[in-house]
């Protein structure tokens, strides 16, 4: 019997997974445990290993197509073997032919089948007619009636939404005539890329975000980092980075400015008691944001260890869905790429995100003398719906003060 390979469930909340790449084609032999495909969900991409040794008999889900977890994506078995579900299908088809052997027109059969398939969708008669007239795809609709039945109200709502998106489309200046480039590579937007695209677009469309910048003198911090390096290494088998100190400073500041540790959801501002800190990590495939839960309960050393552990997991694609959701504030660090100030985009529905630039040395007046000091550029993007410029600046001031007096953060 052929073995079914199904779309794995990569997290509690996963609704759909996409096969991003097939490593095998029909007819290829595979060994047990051999990666046969890469699948991606909202935030994760993993390899699917073959559950058995054999030949790929059929690929049921093409690259780029999203299916719910549990859906069969391919069959593995011995060459020439019948696939169970296929056999069934052929049988029913056979029966149909037998029963209609008299003078049936060939065309009527498939038509009838198509209609039975359609009838399985729970929808009220008037809702069906309205959806058909409005050109709605009822298969993709979610009903709110008993047992998920699609009601007239659901269709009216969907039609209303379809109309408003159409209006948006018209008002968008999309008629920028792009000259046809001779050859362009077209990449389907799926998996992680699709999620980033949707979330970032949504963030900019649906919030009132703006960015303020501040320079922080981190000379003392760098000195302290050097000073403590050996102790930290020998006592905790760890290394404190500037990023760790920034994370610590942000967490402590969020406790003082709880307005910043919040989210704007459905006309309500949600203030969070705990700090779950998102740390953006750049990967080849795209950006992921692992979350350090209850970061306000951690010491500087613990925080530093968590950041490193999650970043490592992220690079190895080992993060679970739960480790990538529920952040209340995010830090995005582009310092490694030589960027100084920039405008980070809010990670919705959060009210704030701190952008960290590259530390540089520059002459600074300290009193009447000029000294060489290390400067860290910080950029804070915040949601003006939640708080105004002054409290946002006050938060950034607190971060700055902590980083400029780093000794206060050690305890």
């Amino acid at each position: 019997m052929a073995v079914e390979v199904v779309m794995p469930k990569l997290g509690m909340a996963m609704k759909e997974g996409t096969v991003s790449v097939w490593n095998k084609t029909v007819g290829d032999t595979v060994g047990k445990g051999e990666p046969i495909a890469s699948v991606s969900s909202e935030k994760i991409e993993i390899d699917v290993e073959s559950p058995a040794e054999g030949t790929v008999l059929q690929i049921a889900v093409p690259e780029g197509e999203g299916v719910p977890p549990g859906t069969v994506i391919c069959y593995i078995g011995s060459p020439g073997e019948n696939i169970a579900s296929n056999t069934k299908l052929q049988e029913t088809e056979g029966e149909n032919v037998a029963s209609s052997s008299s003078v049936q027109l060939e065309q009527t059969e498939p038509k009838k089948l198509a209609r039975t398939a359609r009838d399985r969708i729970k929808i009220s008669p008037v809702a069906r007619k309205m959806a058909e007239a409005g050109g709605l795809d009822i298969e993709s609709m979610q009903g709110t009636g008993p047992g998920g039945r699609i009601t007239k109200e659901d269709v009216q709502e969907a039609l209303k939404q379809a109309r408003s998106t159409q209006v948006n489309k018209v008002t968008k200046p999309e008629q920028i005539s792009v000259e046809k480039v001779e050859e362009s590579q077209q990449i389907p937007v799926t998996g992680i890329r699709k999620v980033i695209a949707e979330r970032m677009y949504e963030s900019l469309q649906k919030s009132a975000q703006l960015t303020i910048n501040m320079k922080v003198d981190v000379s003392k911090l760098i000195a302290l980092q050097k000073q403590t390096m050996e102790t930290v290494q020998s006592q905790y088998d760890n290394k404190l980075t500037v990023t760790d100190f920034i994370a610590r400073a942000v967490v402590l500041s969020l406790k003082q400015h709880e307005q910043m540790n919040s989210a704007y959801i459905e006309n309500k501002i949600h203030l969070y008691k705990q700090v779950h800190l998102g740390m953006a990590v750049a990967l080849e495939r795209g950006l992921v944001v692992p979350v350090i839960r209850n970061a306000d309960q951690s010491t500087l050393i613990d925080l530093s260890k968590s950041i490193k552990a999650l970043a490592k997991k992220a690079r190895e694609g080992q993060l679970s869905q739960d480790e990538m959701q529920g952040s209340t504030f995010t830090i995005s660090n582009l310092g490694a790429y030589g960027v100084d100030h920039f405008t980070p985009v809010l990670n919705p529905p959060e009210a704030g995100i701190l952008g960290v630039g590259a530390v540089y040395d520059t002459p600074v007046f300290v009193g009447e003398t000029i000294e060489k000091r290390s400067i860290l550029p910080l950029s804070l993007t915040f949601d003006h719906r939640v708080l105004d410029g002054a409290p946002a600046a006050a938060f950034l001031q607190t971060v700055k003060k902590l980083l400029e007096n780093p000794i206060t953060m050690l305890f």
């Binding site: 009220s124 008669p125 309205m130 007239k152």
Partner: protein, 459 residues
């Protein structure tokens, strides 16, 4: 386990109690009188019992038409027995609710509840007070009859529907003020039991808000039964000492002697003396404010049934009680008023669901209308009740059935299938090849649909 308290044991309250108990919660029901509320004790059930007696009397009087000869002058109404039968039925039904409470382990406390805090109420019964607390509270205190501003109820001459149910003998004459559902039902009872009834209605038709055509049929039948109907007429004064009703319309001012006066001008939500203002619950004279989930402005308090105003019908209260209880249990539910049948137990009966013709034309413009008269229905002919018709309103673009009104014998039973049509959002094409049972009155509903799409067979 959540502790849920329900104040009021009428249709909204007792259904909420059962629903909450079935969800596995500790439920307490506080009620002042016999369980069942207005519906069971002085509304739906007792009136229907009286109507049934009136109907049997009327049937018997017409027995000759069916070939049954009765001894002349030997038929009479035994008013005492009619009352006894009614009381017996009510008592059986109240017992039924007590049984349901026991079965579902609902604790019933007899007494009057007043809110002390949003989670504690004081219950008073015969001078004894106790405090009862709960996590969630559902208010279902119902409604009570509205009195004329210049003539309060006295229970002797000026009656409300509750009093009218307890009359020990049929009066010779009765004036009914208010020609709505309650007024028309009582007119139907008493006129057929021999009372000379006069209805005085402010608006230009009986049953204001119902289909004009339907109201006109009832108007005619009531007149045939000996009822005098004055529409567009206002009552000016009630003179107790000489039992005279003074009323006025375009034609001038008149006075009329009445043995009894029934005032049926509406019912108002019971929101007073509950301590609602102490706990800051949002309410007005027209009822407690709730959203479609039956939630009030206080997060652990819900309200349902007549006390929220809106549609004052027992079956709407059942529905709202279920929604309120599910919400209190942490389930998601919201009310759906799409297909609420309206039943009027006059003779002939009137029942409708969805839009009236006037509303439908306002909303959809050019609608299609299908009508089928009971005069063309075999079963109606057999039962000797050919008065009335079925009217079906159809939205023109998709053929959705948006309103049905039926006037005629057993209309209140027939409306059930129309309610299913509206609830399921059915369209006419589905009913074209529908097989209606024969011979039945319900064929008329199917024929009315066919009539609307131009395919009626039997007219």
């Amino acid at each position: 386990m959540t502790r849920i308290m329900i104040i009021g044991g009428g249709p909204a309250g007792y259904v909420a109690a059962i629903t909450a108990a079935q969800q596995g919660n500790e439920v307490t029901l506080i009620d002042q009188g016999p369980l069942g509320g207005t519906c069971l004790n002085e509304g739906c059930m007792p009136t229907k019992s009286l109507l049934e007696s009136a109907e049997v009397f009327s049937q018997v009087k017409h027995a000759g038409e069916f070939g049954i000869r009765l001894p002349v002058g030997k038929i009479e109404v035994d008013w005492q027995s009619i009352q006894q039968r009614k009381n017996q039925i009510v008592s059986t039904l109240v017992q039924g609710i007590h049984y349901l409470m026991r079965k579902n382990k609902v604790k019933v406390i007899n007494g009057k509840a007043t809110f002390l805090t949003s989670q504690v109420v004081r219950v008073e019964s015969e001078g004894i007070q106790q405090e009862v607390s709960a996590d969630k509270i559902i208010v279902a205190t119902g409604s009570e009859p509205v009195a004329l501003p210049f003539a309060p109820f006295d229970g002797k001459w000026i009656l409300h529907s509750g009093h009218a149910m307890l009359i020990q003998e049929a009066p010779e004459s009765m004036v009914i003020i208010g020609g709505g559902v309650i007024g028309c039902e009582f007119a139907s009872v008493y006129s057929r039991l021999g009372t000379k009834v006069t209805i005085i209605e402010m608006s230009c038709q009986l049953l204001p808000g119902e289909d004009e055509e339907v109201a006109a049929i009832l108007h005619k039948q009531l007149e045939d039964d000996g009822v005098t109907v004055h529409t567009s007429t206002a009552v000016k004064e009630l003179q107790k000492e000489n039992k005279k009703v003074i009323f006025e319309n375009e034609k001038g001012s008149k006075e009329l002697y009445a043995d009894l006066v029934l005032v049926s001008i509406g019912r108002k939500p019971r929101v007073q003396n509950l301590g609602l203002e102490h706990i800051g619950l949002d309410f007005a004279n027209k009822g407690i404010f709730v959203n479609e989930c039956m939630e009030t402005n206080i997060s652990n308090i819900y309200a349902c049934g007549d006390v929220i105003g809106g549609i004052q019908l027992a079956h709407v209260a059942f529905h709202e009680g279920t929604v309120a209880a599910l919400q209190a249990c942490g389930e998601e539910a919201k009310v759906n008023y799409r297909a609420v049948p309206r039943c009027i137990y006059t003779s002939p009966e009137i029942a409708s669901v969805g839009l009236t013709e006037k509303q439908a034309r306002e909303q959809y413009g050019d609608i299609r209308v299908g009508v089928f008269p009971f005069a063309a229905n075999g079963k109606a002919l057999i039962s000797g009740k050919q008065l009335g018709k079925v009217k079906i309103l159809i939205e023109p673009e998709f053929g959705e059935i948006i309103g049905v009104s039926i006037v005629g014998v057993h209309a209140t039973e027939l409306i059930g299938q129309a309610a299913v049509m509206l609830h399921a959002e059915m369209t006419t094409d589905l009913l074209e090849n529908f097989i209606a049972p024969h011979p039945t009155l319900s064929e008329a509903v199917h024929e009315a649909v066919l009539n609307a799409i131009g395919h009626a067979v039997h007219v």
